[in-house]
Structures are given as C-alpha cells and as structure tokens.
Amino acid sequence: MKTLEVQNLTKRFSSTTQPAVNQISFALEEGEILALVGPSGCGKTTTLRLIAGLERPDCGSILINGRLVASESRFIPPEKRGIGLVFQDHALFPHLTVFGNVAFGLRSRRNESRHKSAPNAVKAAVLDMLRLVGIDFLASRYPHALSGGERQRVALARALAPRPSLVLLDEPFSSLDADMRLTMREEVRKILKSMQATVVFVTHDQEEALFMGDRLAVFQRGQIEQIGTPDEVFHTPATRFVAKFMGDSDFLRGKISSNGIQTEIGLLLQPVSLPNSTLVEIAVRADDIDFEPDESGNAVIAARFFRGALNLYRLQLDSGQILHALKMHTYLVPVGTRVRARISAGHPLAVFEKSA
C-alpha cells in the first residue's frame, strides 16, 4: 500500500486565472522522500497544503495510507489526517517553551488514548525527540530566544513528535543563512531517514531538491513536468524546462543527420529517433563543453567567472549562440581569445525537437 496517493489533483484560487495546481498525480512509498521543486508560483506549496488539508481541492483525490482524505465529496480536516507539517516560517508558538511546542502535538485528542494515563510518557517522548534533533538543552527556552537553526530543529521535532505517517516540509531552509542551510539539510535528511519517515519536501532550490529527494517532482505552472530519481531528472530531463531548471543548461541548436546531430561546433554522434533534417536543441551544461585556444576556432571568450576551484567561461559562437564551459582554476585564457569549442560529454545528451 502506498503511504500517499494523489490523483488528478486540481486547485484554482480564482475562476479567471489558470489553476494553481492542475491535474497532478503521484504516489509515495513508505519511507520515501519526494522533493517537489520548481520556480516560485509553480504550485508546489499549494500541492503540499492540499495534502495537509489546509486547502480544499476543486477536483481529484488524496489518499493517506489508503484512506481517502480529500475528494470532491469528502474533506478530512487537517487535525484528523495524521500528518506533520514543518512551515516555512517555522510557526513556533511564541507563548510556549520549546518543550511545550514539541509536546503540543502529543497532547492532542488524537494521541490522548496513547498518553492519557502517563504524562511522563509525553515528557519522555518530547525529550527523546529533542535529543534526536540535538537541542534537549533548550527545552525551557522560548522561541524568541532561539537562533534560526535552533528554531528549525524545534519545528522539525514538533512535527515528528506525534509520529505522523506523513511528514510535509515547506521550504524549511529558506529562512536560514547559506552555510547553515548546508549543514541543516544534511542533518535533517539523516534524522528523517533514521525515523524512516515518509516525506514530501518543497523547495525552489534545485540543488537542495537533488540532495534531499529520493525522487524529485519538477513543477511548472501547476503541473508536474517530470518525476524521477535525482539521476534521471538530472541526466535525462524529460522536457526542455526540466533541462533548463535543473542545472542551468544552454541549448545548442542542431539538425538531425543520418549519422548523428549536426551542430555549429561539430557532429554529435548520438542516435536520436527523429526524422532526418529535424531541427533540434541539445541541452548542454558547462561540464559538457570543452575548448582550447585556436586562431581559426569557432567561438570567442565573452567572459570569465571565477568560481573558486573552477573557472566558468562564457563562449560566444560565431552565430551569436552562448555556451558555458568549466575549466580548472589554474587554466586561464583572457577574454576575447579565439577558441575552438567542442562537445566533450562522456554521456548521451538530452535532445528536444525545436518548437517553431
């Protein structure tokens, strides 16, 4: 049985605009982490709120552990869904201590039968949870006296404490500093995995999605463009949008010929199931392109960006097309140098038919 099943889910906020979430379907196995990723306003947060029961869908259905929680005719309120939600702003209750926040979900009616006779059991469960996220020494503090990372941990502990069957995280790291974000996401993933939690995770950061998700669902304009493992989504993007959004691809124009794809910087030997002379675009990332200085080359260095260990070069081909290439930080070529660019990818590249 799937832990979460979403079928044809649709939500529109006003009748004039296009739906915020448009006919999406996906399912989640127990213990799996699914990252919903896409640009802002793509419908990923709305999807999460629909699963949580904070929005009512217009169409479609949601099943949690096989139980229908939302459909056109049925709506189970959030308090009866058995989910844990970590909010973007953490939403810690300012009038409760860290302990009180984490205990809040354990003291609800849903869990009363489990803990009614044993307030000590609540206490033990809270302290266990705080220990798990590494902040048991903060139990008596109030939220306003916590740092961003500590708040993050409390929010996570609070959502996990009632052992929900499904954990939802809504851009949980967006309020943290960049370096804090990296440590927190590693730790959060470890905690979620150690609890074998089933998780839906929303982010607009593609790198974060690749790191956190066992699978990724890439959203655009209320629809899922592709759903798959990080490898699949990164290496074989299903659409031009996915290629563009996941890893900053450039699109090199080409034309199908009998033995490969003819491009401005040479022939790409890759079988494609498209008829000859079809115009296509090849998604190339900076690590798929190489160049060396050549007076009679096909491109000019337009700019160089120092990226620490690597240099990112921007190449302008004679047609005006822009490509990017990565080189070691020691490899320096001045801007304006004429170079010969070529495709150096050791793997098949994603090819899309050029739209008219």
Partner: protein, 544 residues
C-alpha cells in the same frame, strides 16, 4: 531576504472557508447597522411638512454651525497636534519623555468637563476671573468669553488635539531616516525636505487623525450645549429632551449621519494607505534636530499647551474637590448614600463601560477574523459596516434605540442594558479595528500548525489564537471602556430615572451651576479614564 519573501505564495491564505463564522459575523454587522438603517428610514418617511419646515428654518443654519465648528477644530488640532509631535519626536527639546505623556493625557478629559471649568472661571458675569478682576480694579475688565463659536472651537481643540498628536507622533517616529537622507543627498535643504518628503509621508496618518477629530466634533453634545453654540447634536438633543418632537429629531439625525458617513468614508479610504509609514527591516531613527536658540520658545509653547489642556484643569478640579470635601454641607450632599451617591455613580460607570467593552470585543472577533483571514469583497463589506458606529453620534444612537426598542422589545426600554447597548454600538469600530490588527499580526501558519498537530478549530481558538491576541484585545477593550466612560448624551437620554453615571453626575451638577459639587465626580472620572489610557499609551512605540 527578498527571495524568502517572494517564495511565500499567499502569506495569509485561509483554511477552507467557514460558513458558521460568516453567519455570526453577518449577524453582528446587522446588529451594528440596524440603528443607522432605522434612522434613515425614519428620516425619509417623516412628514414632508416637517422636512419643509426644517429646510426653511433651521437646517441650513445648523449645517453651517456644525461644519464651521468641525472645520475650525480640525484645523486647530492639526496645527497643535503636528507641531507638538514634531517638537517631542524630532528635536532635542529637553524633557521630551515627560512632555509626550502630558500631551497625550488630555484624552482622559472629556471636553464637556473642560467646558465646565472654563465656564466657571471665565463666564462673563459670575466667572471667578472676571469677578476677581472687578474686585481688584473696581470696574469690569473685559475677558475672553468661553461662550459661542470661538469658545467651543477653542475648548474642543485643546482637548481633542491628542488624537492628531498621537497619530502624527507615531508617524514621525516610524519614518525611515533613509527617506530624509535620500532627499538631502538629492540636493534638498532640511526645510525643503520637511515639506517635500517628511510631511507628505505623514499625510495618511495626519488625515486619518483629522477625520477622527471631525467625527468627534459632529458627535459632541456636552460642550456645545454648555457653551450655547447650536449644532446638529445639541439641536437633536433638545428636540428629544424638551419638545419630544421625534419626527424633527429623525430628520436632523438623518442629515447629521449622512454628513458623518461622508467623513467616515474618506477616513476609511485613507486607512488603507496609512500603511506606507510602517517600519521596515533596517529601520533606524531620524537624527534629532538641534533647536539651538529656539529651545526656550519651543519649551514655553509646549508647556503652555500642557498647562491649558492638562495641568490647569487638573489643578482646578483638585482645588474644588478639596473645597467640597472641607465643606460639611457639600460633603454630605456629594457622598450621601443611595442611588444618588457618588459611589453608586462610579460603580454604574464602571460596570456599564466594562460590560460594553466585553461585549464589543467579543462581537468584534468573528467580524475581524473573517475580514483578516478570508479577505473578499463580502467580508470587507461586513468589516466596514461595523465601522458605521463612528458616524452615529450618541444622540442619534439614543434616538434610534428609543424608537426601535419601544417597538420591538419594550421590556428593555428604560433599563441600564439599553445604555450598555448604546455604548457597544457606538464603540464597535474601535473594537473591530483593534481585533483586526491583533489577528492580522498573528501569522496564519500558527493556527495551521495547531490544526496539523491535531487541534480542532475551536481548540485552536482557545489554545493558540486567544492567548496570542489577548494583549491586542485588551487594548481594544480599554479603548471601548475609555470612550464609554466619557459618553454623555446617549447616557442622558437612555438611562432609567435615577440611574446616574459619573458623566451624568458631573453634567447634572454643572448644568445647574454647582461647579464645586461637580468637581469630585469629574476628578474620579478623569482618574478612572487615565488607567485604560496609560495602558493604551504604554503599548505604542512612542511611550516605550
């Protein structure tokens, strides 16, 4: 930071719409709007001959009188309020902290008490000062008379300017230093910056304050009646109290309320725009302006305003109270037991005002919650409907309640409950605004978090929402309590015989010329009012 804000798709998005909440809020709005609708109905269905008679005789003069007074008081409060706020917020005036409090405290003094004091001191024949001067020089010395237009305008101005003072002070304070620095860096002098940047940025706050003053002047009865300057309010009161001509009273009320609604409408329009004075992220205060040789004149001006509006009234009341207490005959008259006693009046004031505060805040909650959490034209309309109390002066509320209650629930007529209902109706706007701002500051995600952690909407209300918005609700309650304490005309018209509040006590003594006997009640009224007022002031940034 920008990214975080941008990726928040709908900051206060609602949980699925609650129809029970909408129903309750609708009923509350109906309750508030009913007296208004009824007055219009009565005014329109009044005898055409009465309309004609009023149009030919008094209506235009009343309109002229009322508008002239409202205009004069509004301009006066703007000038005093803004200049006092500028001096205490933007300059290095010595003793600013103390002056801030003293400039706000006149709000605890109902203008009619101010009018009583001026009458006692300055009235042309028999006033304390003219008599003293006549005794000193042996002939009558001309002194300014508090009677008529200028007296009323002066007295209303000096007791109402704190509205403008508080709103413009808050606006001065929240203004970003960068705004003025940007103007200076773009080549404006300090003086040009004040007129081109500082003042325009304050405009919404200033206009909102000014319009509140205008509404208050339209509703004012005690002062104008004492100083014998006839406005709509006092004319309606006279029709009701003396002549019992309800038809004429209804017509005059209809016209007055239309006038007030017009003012209220512009005030609500401006409320929305008042936002751009809010403090943003890296706010820091504007550097103070050094007064230099202007320090002394500025200090004298501030002290003069404080003396006239606060210290002299307080001292005179204190002196009279002592005088009353020292005279055994007056003492026994004031402190006699029974329903006419001072203790009973104080108790009546307290419980009616407290009950009104409780009801107003409770009733405001569903309306405020609906309009903040589920913004739509319908919920917006309900919230605005609850604001009409501002536009219904006490005399009109009283008239409307007398007519409605006599017809629908005669059992309530001439009971103190009617007085409480009038207070609730009149002060509902303050309660709704306070509740709206309290709920608006509460992030919707806190309530949602509680839901996802297993709480029903009702449990969420009691465990999360109410504890967190309680300070805001108390502020709303304090405001309702304060204005209910001061309410005079509605109490006078609606109270059952023998039911005295402090305001009524003061009024009854003073209108018979017994100023000294009125002083203890007035002083108690002031001191009781000062408690909720200082609570309210403590909550604002200016007084922390």
């Amino acid at each position: 930071m920008l990214r975080a804000i941008k990726s928040l798709p709908f900051p206060s998005k609602p949980l699925p719409f609650s129809s029970q909440l909408a129903l309750v809020a609708g009923l509350v709005a109906l309750f508030v709007a009913l007296p208004l609708a009824y007055i219009f109905l009565r005014a329109l269905s009044a005898n055409p001959e009465d309309w004609l008679r009023l149009l030919q005789t008094r209506l235009w003069r009343l309109m002229g009188n009322t508008l002239a007074l409202a205009g004069a008081v509004t301009s006066g409060t703007l000038i005093i309020g803004v200049s006092m706020a500028w001096l205490t917020e933007r300059t290095d005036l010595p003793g600013r902290r103390a002056w801030r409090w003293m400039l706000a405290l006149p709000l605890a003094i109902p203008p009619y008490i101010g009018a009583i004091l001026h009458l006692a001191l300055l009235r042309p024949r028999g006033g304390v000062i003219p008599k003293f001067l006549e005794g000193l020089f042996g002939f009558p010395v001309p002194t300014p008379s508090p009677l008529g237009f200028w007296g009323a305008a002066f007295i209303l101005t000096i007791f109402m300017f704190p509205y403008v003072y508080l709103l413009s002070g808050a606006a001065f304070r929240s203004q970003h230093a960068m705004l003025e620095e940007a103007a200076r860096s773009l080549g404006r002098t300090a003086w040009q910056t004040f007129w081109q940047v500082t003042l325009p940025a304050l405009r919404p706050g200033l206009l909102a304050g000014a319009l509140l003053v205008t509404l208050d002047v339209l509703a004012e009865y005690g002062t104008v009646a004492l100083l014998r300057y006839e406005t709509f309010s006092s004319a309606i009161f006279a029709q009701l109290y003396g002549r019992y001509d309800r038809s004429a009273a209804s017509i005059l009320s209809g016209v007055l309320v239309s006038l007030a609604l017009l003012v209220l409408w512009s005030e609500i329009k401006l409320q929305g725009q008042a936002r751009f004075t809010q403090i943003e992220g890296n706010w820091r205060p504007v550097p103070l302006i050094l007064l230099g040789r202007w320090k002394l004149p500025a200090l004298v001006t501030v002290l003069l305003v404080i003396a006239i509006s606060l210290l002299i009234p307080l001292l005179v009341l204190l002196a009279w109270t002592i005088q009353a207490v020292l005279d055994p005959q007056t003492l026994s008259q004031i402190f006699r037991a029974g329903p006419q006693g001072l203790a009973q009046s104080a108790w009546n004031s307290l419980w009616t005002s407290a009950l009104a505060a409780l009801f107003a805040v409770t009733l405001s909650l569903p309306v405020a919650r609906l309009s903040v959490r589920y913004p739509s034209p319908y919920t917006h309309f309900l919230a605005r409907l609850c604001q009409v109390g501002y536009a219904i002066p006490g005399v009109v509320i009283a008239l409307s309640l007398i007519l409605i209650i006599n017809r629908l629930v005669p059992i309530l007529s001439a009971t103190p409950h009617l007085v409480v209902i009038a207070y609730v109706l009149r002060n509902m706007p303050q309660a709704v605004r306070a509740s709206e701002s309290a709920i608006g500051r509460l992030s919707a995600s806190l309530e949602e978090a509680s839901r996802t952690l297993g709480r029903t909407p009702l449990q969420t209300l009691f465990e999360i929402t109410l504890p967190l918005i309680l300070p805001g609700l108390l502020a709303g309650g304090a405001l309702v309590f304060l204005t209910s304490l001061k309410e005079l005309p509605a109490t006078l018209l609606l109270r059952p015989a023998g039911f005295d509040t402090l305001a009524v006590r003061v009024w009854v003594w003073a209108s018979d010329g017994y100023y000294i006997q009125a002083a203890p009640a007035a002083l108690i009224l002031l001191l009781v009012s000062a408690i909720p007022l200082s609570f309210l002031l403590h909550r604002t940034a200016m007084f922390q």
